[in-house]
Amino acid sequence: MINFVNVSKRYAETGDVLRNISFHLQRGEMAFLTGHSGAGKSTLLRLIAVMERVSRGLILLDDQDLSLAKESQLPYIRRKMGFIYQDYKLLHDRTVFDNVALPLVIAGYGHHEVTRRVRAALDKVSLTGKEKKYPLALSGGEQQRVGIARAVVNKPPIIIADEPTGNLDPDLSEEIMFLFGQFQRVGVTILIASHDISLITQLNHRVLKLDHGQLVSG
């Protein structure tokens, strides 16, 4: 599903951030991406989202070479992924419903379909009844679940999460991880960047460990 082949990323200012990264995440696999700050976790995720392009090597997404993708194709590639962030990245001037609906509206779904799917997604993250609230009126854990609902509402085959539990206490973190487990069981490929070691060891999943831009395990 996500296949890195000898991927390197070099910035003119800082030099190599990622060096010769190769790994293959299978369809329906869940893996953690870990490593110290500045090890290149975020850069790796940005490469998958094609917010950045690789300097060398290949990234194949569902057998599609991302480095060959034209700028105009990127939106359609990104629609195959749901992104979840540490800071939730919600729009504060829009309701929970509108936040979750955004990917569907962008993809051009009709009004009825949007309503149906947003309800289903909110139901999955146990936020039914909070559609009309604004994000800032919700707790951190609830906001993160809005973020998750937005990531899965379009039923993408891939979920990418960047420190999804970074701002949450252990109980809430466990709750979020439980949700990820549910998505994995229906065949979604999940990559979670995290340095929450206790959480990672607690869950028995594949761990990709980055150290100074190199993959040291996984």
Partner: protein
């Protein structure tokens, strides 16, 4: 995604490089009608939400819009000014008639003889004699200085012969040759080609027209920059929204849409406001102009923008708004991509 796939975990398939293709079309739900409705909804949403945002910050919006409206009304004001000047000259016949002003000591009888002799010229089509009395009468009727003229003891006006050359004689050099001949005859005090000063006036007006056009171009450019700047600020304020929309798969067209509508609204409202500003100015001027026109026989009425010109003004203002924001979006979104 098929669920059966999850059993194949850990078995790496050989790497295949497939040309990227757009596979989204099959995914976006619903039939064609649904999609069309969704597309229409997207536009309607962008149209009204961008207006809503302008209304939500009334002070800032009105400042921008006022500046634009003043710039646009300046340009259209000049346009109207020139149109009115043009209206003045279009009343003047652009014939190639020559007026001969005879010396004061020439009598009416002598003038009649002169008419006959001029008529015999092969280049002349007709000659009309205007005696001193006729001229005075005409002047009293049309000039508005009737009372002043009555106060004069003697008639100061000369006898005028209006010579209409043959139509075939349209060449300017031949005409001026004819004019020179008339000028040389002893009875003629002064010979003047009417065309000449109509020509002069018209070239002054076309100069004014050119000036108005250049001014419009300059002010139009200013409008572009002002709209561009407000859209840039708006884009800056909504940067998060742009980034998030991009991450969840928004196309550039989707991201641009609300900002283009913002540009449209700014331009449209400024255009309408500019129309009202011009209308107000015209209303103030109209009274004085009518009074002045009355003094000159009342043949001149102030022209305002007609229906087509009004529509053109508003469309042009809206278009400038859209172009201004589009230019900024292309540049700024490229920049967002790079950073």
């Amino acid at each position: 995604m098929k669920r059966s796939n999850k059993n194949r975990i850990k078995k790496d398939p050989p790497v295949r490089i497939v040309k990227p293709e757009i596979r989204q079309t099959a995914k976006a739900g619903g039939n064609f009608k649904d999609k069309l409705n969704a597309y229409r909804d997207q536009h309607a949403q962008a149209l009204f939400s961008s207006l809503g945002r302008l209304v939500a910050t009334p002070f800032v919006s009105m400042m921008t819009i006022s500046v634009l409206a003043i710039a646009i009304s300046l340009a259209s004001g000049f346009y109207i000014l020139v149109s009115n000047l043009q209206q003045l000259t279009s009343n003047l016949e652009t014939s190639n008639q020559i007026s001969l002003f005879l010396r004061e000591d020439v009598s009416d009888a002598h003038a009649k003889k002169l008419v006959d002799s001029i008529k015999s010229d092969k280049n002349v089509q007709s000659v009309k004699l205007i005696t001193k009395e006729q001229a005075l009468q005409e002047f009293k009727t049309y000039s508005g200085f009737g009372a002043a003229i009555n106060a004069l003891e003697t008639n100061p006006l000369p006898i005028v012969l209006q010579v209409l050359p043959k139509n075939a004689l349209s060449d300017k050099e031949e005409l001026s040759e004819l004019l020179k001949n008339f000028q040389q005859s002893p009875e003629v005090d002064f010979a003047q080609m009417d065309l000449q000063w109509v020509d002069r006036l018209q070239s002054i007006i076309s100069l004014a027209r050119l000036f108005a056009n250049l001014l419009s171009l300059l002010l139009g450019t200013a409008v572009l920059f002002i709209v561009g700047n407000s859209v840039r600020l708006e884009l800056h304020n909504r940067r998060d929204e742009v980034v998030i929309s991009k991450l969840v798969g928004a196309t550039d067209a989707f991201i641009r849409r609300p900002f283009l509508y913002t540009g449209f609204w700014i331009g449209f409202i400024s255009g309408v406001l500019a129309w009202f500003i011009v209308a107000l100015l015209m209303l103030i001027l109209n009274h004085s102009v009518e009074a002045l026109s009355e003094l000159y026989g009342g043949s001149f009425h102030l022209l305002f923008l007609n229906f087509t010109e009004t529509i053109t003004l508003i469309l042009l203002a809206s278009l400038l708004g859209v172009i201004g924001s589009w230019a900024v979006l292309v540049f700024q979104l490229q920049y967002t991509k790079a950073s």
